[in-house]
């Protein structure tokens, strides 16, 4: 059974690393916002996996907190961000 938890942890770590690439490199603010949402979701998955692996329920409160805080953060960015400048790759701004 430990193998399954280890595989899950490896998959989630790889997912977080790959998402972090888009978060750092994303051409626009919205791309970064989408990547950040994905990153938070992966983090929540990891916390849930940890709770299931260790039978430790103290981390479950942070799951609820993350779900709410990430919503507030994403809506704030979508509301208050500054438009991206014209890009040079042929797409409209």
């Amino acid at each position: 059974m430990n193998t399954v938890w280890t595989i899950s942890a490896v998959l989630l770590t790889a997912a977080a690393a790959i998402t972090m690439f888009r978060l750092l490199a994303g051409p626009g603010t919205l791309d970064r916002l989408v990547a950040l949402d994905t990153f938070v979701a992966v983090t929540m998955c990891a916390i849930g996996t940890w709770a299931a692996f260790s039978l430790d329920t103290t981390v479950t409160y942070s799951l609820t907190a993350l779900a709410l805080i990430s919503f507030v953060g994403s809506v704030s960015v979508a509301r208050f961000r500054v438009r991206d400048k014209d890009r040079s790759d042929g797409r409209r701004p």
């Binding site: 790959i18 690439f21 791309d31 929540m44 998955c45 329920t57």
Partner: protein, 113 residues
Amino acid sequence: MSTGILDVLAAALVLGGSVLALTAAIGVVRFPDTLSRMHAATKPQVLGLLLVLAGAAIRLRGHADVGMLILAGLFTIITAPVVANRVGQLAYREQSFRDDLLTKDEIIEFGDD
């Protein structure tokens, strides 16, 4: 430690959620424009997270804190469409998508309200 059938089910659910998270991460990196990336990002945000939470809830059965897992899943289901709506609208208005990848554009046909 004897491994019950419920623990196996929980592990399978968590593993499925992790696989979905990885595929979504690959999609977020590989897809060409913002709308496609949103499409890929939705998978771990709702389905993958719900699978993991269900697995954790099955594994933690009997604890009082299982309610927190259910609450986290509920909040995610409620808030994900709001964020997706806002981001999708912004991405459409700023044209940060590729026209040639759209098969149908209903906002142009029916107007942007």
